[in-house]
Symmetry: D2
Subunit: 306 residues, 4 copies
């Protein structure tokens, strides 16, 4: 059953004893940037994919799941989000989803790696779908944490779209209590944030549960939402935190109504029913979060895959 034409494989190691194999049709770009190893490749099952530091970031076939669950619940937490800040988000697909919201007047996206944005712009047009050229968009290439520190501008929604915290990688200081404290200071009173929190796989819940508990140090409302991006090879979770609104109180109709009023175009993954499903983690994941006592801090970070 393996494709005899497939002799090049991307092995996405999920643990020392486990991996997900993607047959590579063509490698469109491969380079060590200043910050990370980067590849854009076409795989047989998932189309064009962005791979950073040997980990699948997103694929043409299922990036809509990742980007819709990351963006829309957070946007709906705020009654009228006008200003949005994106941490990372190199492919431009998070930006694309944010800009669907008609209320948005300004979206600042800050990615540390200009090379990723440049190549995504050229090679992943279906991802950004022109979002980089939208007049509401502003791009900066710098450390997003420093960017938030240096200005006291406030934002209605902050979307954190970064890779997993890897030792010496560019992201691990964007998962700490200190960073979330900074984020909450830069949010308006009804503000909300969202981020990918790692896998929900049995026995590998350290990162997801510690992110949840760390967010609870800072935000009154934290929900971790299950979502499955098949190309990741493992089930996944996304954290949603807000200063005021509780997404668990919304009915399917509430969500559907808000979407039809505020969002342009049709969503593929997220709607009222998906929202309800997203509010319930399986029992063993909830138990693991409850039991977690680890708070992630600048001087005690967590590295995935160590």
């Amino acid at each position: 059953m393996p494709n005899p034409k497939n002799s090049k494989w991307f092995l996405d190691y999920l643990s020392p004893d486990e991996g997900h194999m993607h047959g590579i049709l063509t490698t469109l770009y491969s380079k060590k940037t200043q910050f990370q190893q980067m590849e854009i490749m076409t795989t047989g099952s998932y189309g064009r994919c962005l791979v950073l530091d040997n980990k699948m970031q997103s694929s043409e076939v299922d990036e809509f799941i990742y980007h819709e669950i990351l963006v829309h619940p957070a946007m709906l937490m705020h009654p009228d989000p006008k200003k949005v800040f994106i941490v990372g988000g190199g492919e431009g697909a998070t930006l694309r989803e944010v800009l669907r919201h008609k209320t948005v007047e300004r979206c600042l996206m800050v990615d540390i790696d200009e090379e990723v944005v440049k190549m995504s712009k050229e090679l992943l047009p279906e991802y950004h779908a022109g979002a980089f050229d939208d007049s509401r968009t502003e791009l900066k290439f710098m450390d997003a944490r420093r960017c938030l520190e240096e200005s006291d501008e406030k934002w209605d929604v902050i979307i954190i779209d970064i890779s997993e915290p890897v030792e010496e990688g560019p992201a691990y200081l964007l998962y700490t209590r200190e960073f979330y404290e900074l984020v909450t200071e830069r949010l308006t009173d009804e503000g909300a944030i969202a981020l990918q929190a790692g896998t929900t796989a049995v026995g590998r819940l350290l990162n997801l549960s510690a992110v949840h508990k760390t967010l609870e140090q800072v935000f009154p409302m934290v929900v971790t939402m299950p979502a499955n991006i098949p190309s990741f090879g493992l089930p996944w979770g996304f954290a949603l935190a807000s200063k005021k609104t509780d997404p668990r109180k919304l009915t399917a109709k509430d969500v559907d109504d808000m979407i039809s009023k505020r969002v342009a175009g049709e969503l593929k993954y997220y709607d009222g029913a998906t929202h309800l499903g997203s509010m319930h983690l399986p029992k063993h994941v909830r138990k693991a979060i409850e039991a977690q006592e680890r708070i992630i801090e600048d001087n005690a970070p967590i590295y995935t895959y160590n």
Copy 2:
């Protein structure tokens, strides 16, 4: 990061261009039985695993997810399930979950492959946990469809725990309209059934959606529930069908109350909140089911991985 001690890998191909790799620590059993290629192996990430025809069937680490979502929702559909029929279920873990229900007086498990049951009994003790020795258990080794045809005995719940429909494999005639019609005739008036329906991965929804639509030809109530078994390498779905009860009407409290009254021991995956999450497929999966027109029939079966 791959484990240098791992030089033996089980490659579970999910498509010609995709696979999930499991580092094999030891192979405990490997044999071509009369019906299928069978392996019991210990993998680094998932402990002892049963592999049939080169596909992961269940693993020590996450089989509880598979077996709880397969068994308990169906059991709760019936107000007082006394007689349960299991189609397949070689490892004995489905039997284990059924027997937790205090109402059960008799459970007949019919698996075509005696070798699988015999070796699971010996090498997978945590899976069956003594269920094969329970006085309520009856085992038969034959084709389950023929077994149901030959007797008109009725059952309160029928759990179909079989591998995917593979060409010339032992299971494909247990996914057809004709088989489900037979099943419904053998169910009591408040009866229910459940089965694994295949992956929910984007673009690979033929089997799951056709199973759903085929069940709707026969049952008034059909729900497909998402559930993720990490060792499978892709997100998964389970179909639940009943003659009367609608699980979507149950609150979390209803489910928690029924579990605490009717089920012995503590469940790890399934409870009221998990139930609510299980009632909502993502939008794109619902759309694919709605759009599906294919009905699976004896003379027009579906084969996965063709």
Copy 3:
């Protein structure tokens, strides 16, 4: 021990049940040309490699073995080779070795795939080492067999440097009795030819032995020389055929003297002692050649890997 930084692998399948894995550092070029799938990649163990139709053709680290054993024995068969014809040879390394011979006045290289030559020129400079710019070099992009048919020009040495005979691939009609008959007509009286003849691995000797026997239909002297190119993953053989000279009669000193007189620069693989080793295949390979009755013909070609 596997390199944790290696998540991209080229799997060079040697049979349905065997392969050689190369960790890919970067893919420099990947394209489906008019004739074949082509990649130039840097692997961790072998540097820059040329891969055609998913098979390793040559690597920076060990191409000197392949090209020296292919070129020099054949060149030494002729007392004064002035005109050399290369069939294939896209990387330019065969050309490089031919041009080391001070007697050579003209070398015509005919490769069907201009794309391979163009990209090798750009990305494999150590392979050709400027040979494409030598004033004695002439390049044509067309089917080499047709080129030989269309002109009755004669050559002192013809080097056949092509990939394995794959069904519908560009090479299989360059391994037949009819082609070798054409080749011998285009050779001068003391002419010789050489080609790679496939693996010498136990039980996989069909191609090598049939090539040997087919050459014997046409040439009075045929020797198959063992040589090992590690990046190929299997031991290999090269056929040498001549109209007059018998290489088995040369002493080590004869060969060393000829090299020092006729060849510019220092060879890395081939010298008098290597020549003696090259004259002796292991017993089981000789037996397989003796037992072979298959003659390769245009209407009865052999395809490797079928």
Copy 4:
């Protein structure tokens, strides 16, 4: 082209960036013995194989190459070998080849791992072919070096048939100058030894060249012979050392005559012509040996794959 039935693969890593993949049909035995990880498996391309510490030791299809080149040249160095000592040799195939020599009256085989011999006896009958039951055979299970130290019995030929020197593995102290000094003391005046010396692959010649140079500290005559065992995935070399006889002086006829007089049955790999081929390493391997200055000593061992 990969076999769709093959979902279990043995990856024999040859370097961090390179490996040879063997499709596993069945795993007959898998165990961590007191000394090493051991597997006996059937692979699609090589039949039954012995794998120790994740490295291929020998395969049904090509073990004859390994065992004939290891045993017969050394045996022919001695005019009348009556007493032979085998260091290691668990599978029993080295023993089998030694016992073909009609002059042999006693063969003592000393392997540290009784488990390997026991399971080879049961599962690899074609390897030993009854040699363990030959009345001339004596088996001991202990460290071979200690065995040679504890008795001053002398031997005509000593065959060292052990795995590569791996850190903390059972073999690395059987590759040192001190060990070879002990070996030479236990040899009769016309005695000879042989051993596998590692790969001859370009750039990976440290072990082979240092073994050669270390042997030269102790023996007046050392030859490293190329031989290719396809299942190893890389070209290989075997060292032959003697106190008196120089194998480079033998003609093909000399060897063929000795074989026909002294060896029972027909050899498959080794004969006069193979002998001549075995006397000539390629130029780059000879150069690497000449340039090597490292002597392997007890307190400065070499570990392969570090």
